[in-house]
């Protein structure tokens, strides 16, 4: 049983059945993610830095992937993080979540659990009070994808 399970897992991971079992119309692409990010940032430049996105580099189960985002910010009335947005590359939809905070948060840090349908890049974008956007990304290898079991 142990051997079978392992073999099944390896086959699953190797053949990408994970994505094939989705409804055919679904499937975010790099462009879909870029589009969703553009909808958020508009013409404003997106710079790497300030944001720290923490995700395990290898996850066994794509159904619950722990994620923590923190942003360097004094969180004062004049200089604080307004919102944090999480995007992914290969799930059926590029958006994962948007968190709105403000100076009353004290510190800009949010933790949650997400689903990942495949090994892919996850991007966190923070919008600051001055209207600037900062980002960080993390690559995750998923051995058992979300949505495979029916």
């Amino acid at each position: 049983m142990q051997l079978l399970l392992t073999r099944r897992r390896i086959l699953l991971a190797a053949s990408g059945i994970g994505l094939a079992s989705f409804v055919p119309a679904a499937g975010a692409t790099e462009e879909a993610m870029a589009g969703a990010i553009r909808d958020l940032t508009g013409e404003a430049p997106l710079a790497p830095g300030k944001v720290k996105l923490e995700l395990p580099s290898i996850v066994e189960n794509g159904n619950t992937v722990p994620l923590t985002v923190s942003v360097e910010s004094p969180m004062t009335e004049a200089d604080h993080v307004e919102s944090i947005h999480i995007f992914n590359q290969k799930n059926p939809q590029p958006y994962i979540a948007a968190f709105h905070l403000g100076p009353r948060a004290g510190k800009a840090s949010v933790a949650t659990r997400i689903r990942l349908a495949d090994s892919q890049k996850v991007i966190a974008i923070a919008r600051l009070a001055d209207g600037s956007f900062w980002s960080d990304s993390a690559d995750v290898i998923v051995t058992l994808a979300a949505c495979t079991e029916q």
Binding site: V23, F99, R113, R115
Partner: protein, 106 residues
């Protein structure tokens, strides 16, 4: 009513930053899965979460199907005064579940 877990220190010093952890029981059905007859299982997710502190919103989240089942969200707030924190989860159908918790600030 779904089961809810909310965790934060019940007493805090004025100005202290407290961490709040929340979890609600919910399948967060993505709308991308098929049942055993090949039909699409309709989407059913919690799409919004808010936390107010004595009536003022201190945290809000918009959630998409890529959130795990039984969504867990941890965030922080500054303990400003004694009072109540109200946590609300709103699903696709507009149904709201609200929970009220007290906090004592010294």
């Amino acid at each position: 009513m779904a089961r809810v877990l909310i965790n934060f220190p019940p007493r805090a010093k004025r100005g202290e930053i407290i961490e709040i952890k929340t979890l609600i029981q919910h399948p967060m059905e993505t709308g991308y899965r098929l049942d055993n007859k090949g039909a699409v299982i309709p989407r059913d997710i919690i799409s919004r979460f808010t936390c107010t502190y004595n009536g003022e919103e201190v945290f809000r989240a918009e959630l998409f199907p890529a959130m795990s089942a039984n969504p867990f969200i941890a965030f922080s707030t500054v303990a400003t005064e004694s009072g109540e924190l109200v946590f609300s989860w709103i699903d696709d159908n507009g149904q709201i579940q609200s929970e009220i918790r007290q906090i004592t600030v010294e």
